[in-house]
Amino acid sequence: MNLKPATLHSIDEVITHYPVKRSATLPLLHLIQEDVGYLPPETCEWVAAKLELQPINVLEVITFYPMFRQKPIGRRHIKVCRTLSCALLGGYKTCEQFEKEFNTHRGEVSPGGEVTIDFVECLASCGTAPVVLIDDDLHEKVDCAKAKQLSDQIKAEAKKR
């Protein structure tokens, strides 16, 4: 697997946090995903070798946690909260707005590969519903107008690249 030196360094460091190597499974998967953008097929074997596990132990973990993905996604990841407090204030409409803006459906990569939109469960910011997590950043009170504004921003940033 082709990981950046900094990633490899972080990997070796994080393993030292635990008396049992296996505990580093989630941290390693996060680090690889941050580096590569997703978890490529060789991840299971690589992590297993690193942590002295069997590959199935890693696959079981990857598929249990929704944040881990085994396929590439768009350049930006838009996660719209689906759960009750957000839905009560229009979370579904917010999601549809994003879908319209990028001409795509939740769970899919938009044409051109700019974004992937996902519905996710409660992001623990229900007081500022509806909320949206774009990559690492939380956006609050995202009604349709704000969804449009955020989309425009993403599109503008894409143009600059």
């Binding site: 590959p55 199935i56 696959l59 598929t63």
Partner: protein, 586 residues
């Protein structure tokens, strides 16, 4: 005499019946002891307890005690100790007995809980039992009639999962039938030490998978089929071949190695369909190797020996040969560690009558630390105990082919032990060799040595020795006769006849008895009952043993006379060698 120490016993009450059970017993096992069935799926006595199926829910309570005096509180109405029942059901598999524990397994709460679990297990399960291979052996089918609600309230779409996945060379998986009990995963991890199975995805979409690119190919893979409580894992070989309820079950022993795993032979109308393990907590628990399950296939093979002449004619022919070589040492008997105790006893009698030397063919391979031991003969201990041999046969040389073999290749089995015999043949001393099912060439004699002697061959299958033999007595396989073996623990275990032998084959005991009679001109018993009278009288270790009373799980016999011998076995399940195993040098 000192009384044996009493195990720590705990008295519990199950459905009103009091019983004392050892500490550490769980409620399912305790209930079993009073013939109360607590239905369960994920619990398996030989695997870790995970408590995930929730089928074994029971109602449980403890005697109430006065907080001040700690004295039990008596219910004024019944005059019996008052029981504080826990208001929610508990799992029987994960609940260990404690003094005074009260359990109800048929209360409304328990019935309701079971009905609920059954319904949940069935909503996403295909309802096509008539075409399922597990029909008749399915715990789900069994228990849904016993504990289910009997009709479906589920009108939604069932989950769709992969059908008919080949998990490995011998095991097929139907994920839609899987109830996610994780027995197969735990078995692979904990017992077979081959951690390749796991669940992917989550919740009701969890799916059993073998890691892509890997296979469930270890030599114990079929045990997952045995323990799968439903028809999710099936034997690719046995799948849909035969309905189990048509099959007859006969207890037997795995003859692959000196472990002596207990088995069941499943047959119908003289044909064997499969071998499965039989529980013996002191030997193989509930497991057996896949390789042992294949053994029945050679029963029907084309190279089975069959006699074309009458048995007595061949016995007379042999008697003539024996007469011509009557001087001590001109006949050699090659006994077998694959023969039963009774056969070995008669082999010894025959050798004595012929004033023949005796030797045993050794078969030594690599043990797998589970149920394959290094000694690939099932009954070398029997030959020692009966006195057929007094020391262990020499270990043969590694077969030529294996010397260049790479590290991963299975270590080949070394067959040998006949170096003394070879020398005697070369010296011209031995003129006749009586072989009890052993191929002399495979055991290390050269073709030239074989050509120098007259061979009398007793055996089941054709080989170089039977081809070269002057007289051949086709005999029976382990599935076609009764007898006993002594395994590596010095446990005497019996096997029984499952199917009749082929036309033209004779029970080994009859052949041996007739040959012995011919050599000594005195009649010799060949039925097990009479033979065991002789055996008990002559063999000290069997002095108090009788075949008829031998329990299905065998008995340990006195091993002290043999304690100093350099046995080849290393550690396996329920067996620790007295001395470190003899190392095999390549």
């Amino acid at each position: 005499m000192i009384a044996p120490p009493k195990p720590d016993l705990v008295t519990v009450n199950i459905d009103g019946k009091e019983i004392a059970v050892p500490k550490g017993t769980n409620v399912i096992e305790a209930a079993r002891l009073v013939n109360v069935d607590v239905p369960h799926y994920c619990y398996h006595p030989k695997l870790t307890i995970v408590g995930n199926c929730r089928m074994c829910l029971i109602e449980m309570g403890m005697p109430a005690v006065d907080p001040a005096t700690k004295a039990p509180i008596i219910d004024p109405v019944t005059g019996k100790p008052k029981i504080n029942w826990i208001p929610r059901p508990q799992i029987g598999c994960g609940t260990n007995v404690s003094p005074g524990l009260h359990v109800k397994t048929t209360s409304p709460m328990v019935k309701d809980a079971r009905e609920g679990v059954m319904e949940f297990l069935l909503i996403n399960h295909p309802l096509d039992c008539p075409i399922c291979d597990q029909a008749g052996e399915c715990k789900l089918q069994e228990q849904s009639t016993g504990y289910g609600r009997g009709y479906s309230r589920f009108v939604e779409q069932k989950n769709v999962k992969p059908k008919r996945t080949q998990l490995g060379p011998r095991v097929t998986l139907d994920d839609e039938r899987c109830i996610l009990c994780s027995r197969c995963i735990r078995f692979s991890k904990e017992i077979a030490k081959d951690d390749v199975l796991g669940f992917v995805d989550r919740g009701s979409y969890s799916t059993l998978t073998c890691f892509p690119g890997k296979q469930l190919a270890n030599n114990y893979s079929l045990n997952t089929v045995d323990i799968c409580p439903v028809g999710a894992l099936t034997s690719t070989d046995f799948r849909f071949k035969m309905r189990v309820w048509f099959l007859k079950q006969t207890n037997s022993i795995d003859t692959e190695t000196s472990v002596g795993a207990n088995t069941v032979v499943w047959s119908r109308e003289g044909q064997i369909y499969r071998l499965t393990p039989r529980r013996n907590d002191d030997v193989n628990d509930t497991w057996m190797p896949d390789s042992g399950r294949e053994l029945f296939k050679s029963v029907m093979s084309a190279d089975r020996l069959a006699a074309t002449t009458h048995l007595d004619a061949r016995v007379a022919q042999a008697a003539e040969l024996f007469n011509l070589n009557a001087s001590a040492g001109s006949i050699a008997v090659v006994g077998s560690g694959r023969s039963s105790v009774e056969e070995q006893f008669l082999t010894k009698k025959l050798a004595a009558a012929l004033k023949a030397s005796t030797q045993l063919v050794s078969r030594v391979g690599q043990g797998d630390q589970l149920l394959i031991s290094a000694d690939r003969n099932p009954n070398v201990r029997g030959a020692l105990v009966t006195g057929l041999i007094s020391k262990l046969p020499k270990i043969g040389d590694a077969p030529a082919a294996s010397r260049s073999a790479n590290g991963d290749a299975a270590v080949p089995i070394r067959t040998g032990g006949l170096t003394d015999l070879a020398a005697s043949i070369d010296a011209g001393k031995v003129k006749v060799v009586v072989s009890i099912g052993e191929d002399l060439v495979a055991a290390g004699l050269t073709a030239a040595q074989l050509a120098k002697v007259s061979v009398v061959y007793l055996g089941t299958h054709a080989n170089t020795s039977s081809a070269a033999a002057k007289i051949v007595f086709p005999t029976l396989s382990v599935f076609e006769k009764n007898g006993t073996f002594v395994n590596q623990q010095f446990r005497l275990q019996k096997f029984a006849k499952a199917v009749p032998g082929p036309q033209g084959a004779t029970d080994d005991l009859i052949v041996l008895a007739k040959l012995t009679a011919a050599a000594s001109s005195a009649a010799m018993a060949s039925d097990l009952g009479s033979l065991w009278k002789l055996i008990s009288a002559e063999v000290p270790a069997f002095a108090t043993t009788s075949y008829a009373q031998l329990p299905e799980t065998g008995i340990l016999i006195d091993a002290t006379p043999f304690a100093a011998l350099p046995f080849v076995e290393g550690e396996t399940l329920h067996y620790k060698p007295a001395a470190p195993a003899v190392a095999l040098t390549p």
